[in-house]
Amino acid sequence: MPPLAELQRDIARAVLAGDTAGLAPLLVGGTEPLARLAIHRHHYESSLTGALAQKFPAVGWLIGAEALASAAHAYVAARPPSAPCIAEYGEDFPALVAERVGGILPYLQSFAELESAVGRASIAVERAPLGWSEIASLGATALLDARLELQPGIYYTRSAWRIDELFETYLGLARPETFVLRAEPSALEVRGSRGNVAIERLADPVYELRSALAAGSTIADAAAAALERDVSFDPGRALRELVAAGLATAIVRGEPSTGGLP
């Protein structure tokens, strides 16, 4: 009998890849114990592909259950999980499914990323929002160097297609007789809490500001990114609207910067 670590290495290989070399003499159970080991391999595969199918039902609706299952099998083979919380598994599944199927559906990756964001937003729990007075009390210089923490159920995603309209059709919110997916850019904010989710299309500079803040940029850097999109953009007003919408939960003072708003 090999040491436990070697035995587990070999069984892991059997579960992951079906390679049972050297295991037959070690096992007992029925007249062909290797066939029993296949029960574990089957459970490993079916539980993970099932979890992906549950996580991406809209992708399944779009490409069909068979194509989704095929992509899920490929993903499980390429990216075994590394942790036991299977709800967190499949973060980069949108890229793989797009690689396999996206040739005929160029919007598939962004659609799958939107679905992933909706799923994560729906299980979030919103925190008490930050009031404007807490921001105003900082003073202009300190404000520019500060960072905002946004609600935990906020996600930003872009697409070259109107994938939000496609997603609404999937949800049954829109039931057009004929649906035409428009090749027009979408800058989307997904906001959710306690099972409720809203998808909002944002103006380009607003998207830049909010997504930069969500990614941890200072208010000055986020505003600069927004102004690059539109020089007439009013960052102060956009910041007030963000706070009024309850999107911010905390303000974190930063190190003083050398510059200000462009």
Binding site: M1, P3, L4, A5, L7, Q8, R9, I11, A12, V15, L16, P25, L26, L27, V28, G29, G30, T31, E32, P33, L34, A35, R36, L37, A38, I39, H40, H43, Y44, S47, L48, P80, P81, S82, A83, P84, C85, I86, A87, E88, S122, I123, A124, V125, P152, S193, R194, G195
Partner: protein
């Protein structure tokens, strides 16, 4: 607590047949609470004495965790982990253990249990409960891992007998003996999954009643009951194998074995597990009520022990 049929008594110690290692005072039959039933359990407060959850389903789901806290304020909870991998030669998943510790500190379950199995190797999580050889090396590995888990959680861990389809010719200890050694070495409690005993005995060809008789009763902290599925056994053409799917009601033969287990272990908190093809919550509650009736019959001397037939 809600019932007086099982009483937590820390003074009794391990010499007692009903020793309370990690055992919680909630008695009677609880149910495994799964996400599709969570809102109903939180808002309607069904008449179930306690719930057991898989913490892995809540660690990445803040909304579910919030609902669980509201349930925990009204009902005792137990944690049944599926990801600690106490049989791994690599050691337990420390990152997962830390997440579990923080969640347990938040929700304060009355008991934390997991499986005599392994799931993690080389940083890959195999999402199944894989079999172990029962020998001295595995005992050393599992003992060290259980010590680490108990140290991190600051409480006794409770270890469940697995559902077995395949074993190892090199095992030198019977499973019940291995569990007794593990409990003796670590002070952990034991969870006797009666359905797993029935299923494993059928699959591996031993006597389920003899297994229960050999199980270290002093360490038992909880019992589990779950449904299995019969499938053709690819390893033995013409025979069936029982798969631990938790996708069906509890088999009649398992109820008989449960009665035998109660007669041997005394009153124990019992859990109804149902994970796949999940029926309405009311079905689980009916199964739990049936477990209560079986227990009442056993302790009233009104149910014959099937092992004596």
């Amino acid at each position: 607590m809600r019932s007086a049929r099982a009483i937590h008594d820390p003074e009794r110690g391990r010499h007692s047949d009903a020793a309370p290692r990690g055992r919680f005072a909630a008695a009677g039959a609880g149910i495994g609470l799964r996400l599709p039933h969570l809102i109903e359990a939180a808002t309607r407060a069904p008449s179930v004495p306690w719930f057991e959850i898989h913490p892995e389903n809540f660690l990445a789901n803040p909304h579910a965790a919030e609902l669980l806290r509201s349930i925990a304020a009204k009902r005792p909870l137990a944690f049944h982990t599926v990801g600690l991998s106490i049989g791994s030669a690599d050691g337990v998943d420390r990152e997962h253990l830390e997440r579990l510790r923080r969640f347990a500190a938040d929700v304060e379950p009355l008991l934390v249990s997991g499986h005599l199995a392994w799931s993690t190797h080389g940083g890959t999580y195999l999402n199944d409960l894989l079999p172990l050889p029962y020998d001295e090396e595995t005992l050393r590995v599992a003992t060290a891992n259980v010590h680490e888990v108990q140290h991190a959680l600051g409480r006794p861990y409770v270890v469940e007998n697995p559902a077995s389809y395949v074993g190892f010719g090199s095992s030198t200890l019977a499973e019940a003996q291995f569990l007794a050694e593990l409990a003796g070495a670590t002070g952990c409690g034991l969870l006797c999954d009666v359905s797993n005993v029935y299923l494993s005995a059928a699959n591996m060809g031993y006597d389920a009643y003899a297994y229960i008789d050999a199980f270290p009763a002093y360490a038992v902290a909880e019992l589990h009951l779950g449904g299995f599925t019969r499938e053709p056994d690819a390893a033995t053409p013409g025979r069936e194998i029982l798969i631990d799917t938790h996708a069906a009601s509890i088999d009649g033969s398992v109820w008989d074995l449960y009665a035998h287990a109660l007669a041997r272990f005394g009153p124990q908190p019992t859990l109804i597990e149902w994970d796949n093809e999940l029926p309405p919550l009311a079905t689980l509650i009916r199964e739990a009520a049936h477990a209560e009736r079986v227990a009442l019959e056993v302790f009233a001397g009104e149910r014959a022990d099937a092992s004596a037939r």
